[in-house]
């Protein structure tokens, strides 16, 4: 992290630092993590700082919260280049780079209302083949519908 960022947001003692979120997407990352504000977590965010790799990026620090693997997968959908650092006692103890798996299951719905995977009475979990990682493009395993990056973001926004 740059010196400038450190000036804006102080270091955290225990928790998670998510870096390289595409500019403006950190609110959606919060939604993925189910953080609405009432949970009491101390959260610091920096939005739209200059980034050589991404143009503009967001950074987020969440105190006293570690991420589950399914949460990491979901973050990968909207921030495919994010890095996730676990911090313990001011030290980074684990560094993870998110990576979209080849197939994702159950964490997103197909946008086609006529898709069999949207029928709650059928024993089926929505499943998607990852056709492209940057930008995110998913293909429904059942009906073949394309799910674009914007549609993924819109779905998380709705879920919030």
């Amino acid at each position: 992290m740059t010196k400038l960022d450190e000036l804006i947001v102080r270091r955290i003692r225990n928790g998670t630092v998510i870096d390289h979120i595409p500019g403006g997407q950190s609110l959606n990352v919060l939604k993925i993590l189910g953080i609405r504000g009432g949970e009491g977590y101390t959260v610091a965010m920096v939005m739209n700082v200059d980034s050589r790799r991404l143009g503009k990026k967001d950074i987020m620090k969440i105190e006293e919260r570690e991420l589950a693997p399914t949460e990491v997968d979901r973050i990968a959908l909207i921030a495919p280049e994010a890095t996730i650092n676990t911090v313990k006692n001011y030290r980074v103890t684990k560094k993870m780079k998110v990576k979209l798996p080849d197939e994702i299951k159950g964490i997103l719905n197909c946008t086609n209302p006529n898709c069999v995977s949207n029928k709650y009475r059928e024993p089926v979990k929505p499943s998607f083949i990852v056709a492209s990682r940057t930008p995110t493009l998913l293909i429904c395993k059942y009906c073949g519908t394309y799910i674009t990056h914007d549609e993924v973001v819109a779905q998380y926004a709705l879920a919030g």
Binding site: N112, N114, C115, V116, S117, K119, R121, E122, P123, V124, I139, C140, K141, Y142, C143, G144, T145, Y146
Partner: protein, 322 residues
């Protein structure tokens, strides 16, 4: 006995036995050509009943109406000496009481040796194939796939013109929601037609996923709205129905209907060898006078439905090996 003829002339690994038929994309060119050759043999055996599938039972699960597809599957099974059970509408079955698709398929799976199904939900056949142990054949799922129709369409071109490679094929009508057109496009990418022209009103243009698929396939294709510009160069004209309910404005529908109507005046400018196909049912997108011309091959196409489906059933149930 036809059984002996099969085994004596053909051999090798069986890539068909027990397989599901969900999308035409799942088949290679080589496999499609094997189905064609098997269909040709079935065609030559005519209406004579065979015993290749004696003792086998086909379940027809038509949650949506069908005439040709269901009847040609039933005919195919009967001709091969097998029997058929099932339903042709959800009414009068437990589905009308609210039973889900999965439970219905579990039941059919335990009764029958192969299931043919049509359902309004997209991906329904894929889900059913995951549930059933016996082969599931998709006879139409929503606006997505109709693989056996595409096999018949390709077989018709192959039979009538002797090849698919090198031809200029045009598809017209509803290319957005029509599953027959979509499946034929996927199927054509397995071959090397000279050109594919997609002629439809702007509202009914290809869905993006099919367009991307086409682009990635490397097939030479173009989209347009005017059939008159290309009619003289065509080898195959594939016509599909334009449905009124797709248009928000009735005036738009009337306009589209008028400009995509195939009549003898248009066909006078075509090559003598042009064939006109249609998955049927047709309404008024083809002028009735076209039926009597040598261009009209859609009734023959429907007739080919039986030998192609016979070939497929015999292959999936391991009664013939290629």
């Amino acid at each position: 006995m036809i059984t002996r003829k099969w085994s004596s002339t053909l051999g090798g690994v069986d890539m068909f036995n027990g397989r599901d038929v969900i999308s035409i994309s799942d088949f290679t060119r080589d496999e499609l050509e094997k189905i064609f050759r098997a269909a040709l043999k079935m065609e030559k055996s005519g209406k004579r009943e065979q015993s290749l599938l004696k003792g086998k039972l086909l379940a027809t699960a038509f949650f949506e109406p069908s005439t040709r597809t269901r009847l040609s599957f039933e005919t195919a099974m009967h001709r091969l000496g097998g029997s058929v059970m099932g339903f042709s509408e959800a009414e009068g079955t437990s589905i009308a009481k609210g039973e889900n698709l999965a439970d219905t398929i579990r039941m059919l799976d335990s009764y029958a040796d192969v299931i043919v199904m049509r359902h309004h939900l997209e991906g329904a056949a894929k889900l059913s194939a995951e549930i059933a142990k016996v082969p599931v054949i998709n006879a139409g799922d929503g606006s997505k796939h109709h693989p056996t129709q595409a096999m018949i369409d390709l077989y018709t071109i192959w039979r009538e013109l002797g090849k698919i490679d090198g031809l200029h094929v045009a598809l017209t009508g509803d290319l957005r929601y029509g599953r027959a057109a979509a499946s034929l496009i996927y199927g054509l990418t397995k071959f090397r037609p000279r050109k594919l022209s997609l002629v439809s009103p702007a509202l009914l243009k290809l869905r993006k996923e099919i367009e991307d698929f086409l682009r990635n396939s490397g097939l030479n294709f173009s989209e347009g709205e005017n059939l008159e510009e290309i009619i003289e160069d065509l080898d195959v004209l594939y016509v599909t129905r334009i449905q009124r309910e797709r248009f928000p404005d009735p005036a738009e529908y009337e306009k589209a209907r008028g400009s995509y109507r195939i009549d003898t005046e248009l066909l006078n400018r075509a090559k003598k060898t042009l064939i006109v196909l249609h998955p049927l049912p047709k309404l008024d997108e083809i002028d009735l006078r076209v039926d009597e011309t040598k261009f009209a091959k859609y009734f023959q196409q429907a007739a080919y439905g039986v030998p192609v489906r016979m070939a497929l059933l015999a292959l999936l149930l391991g009664a013939v090996r290629l």
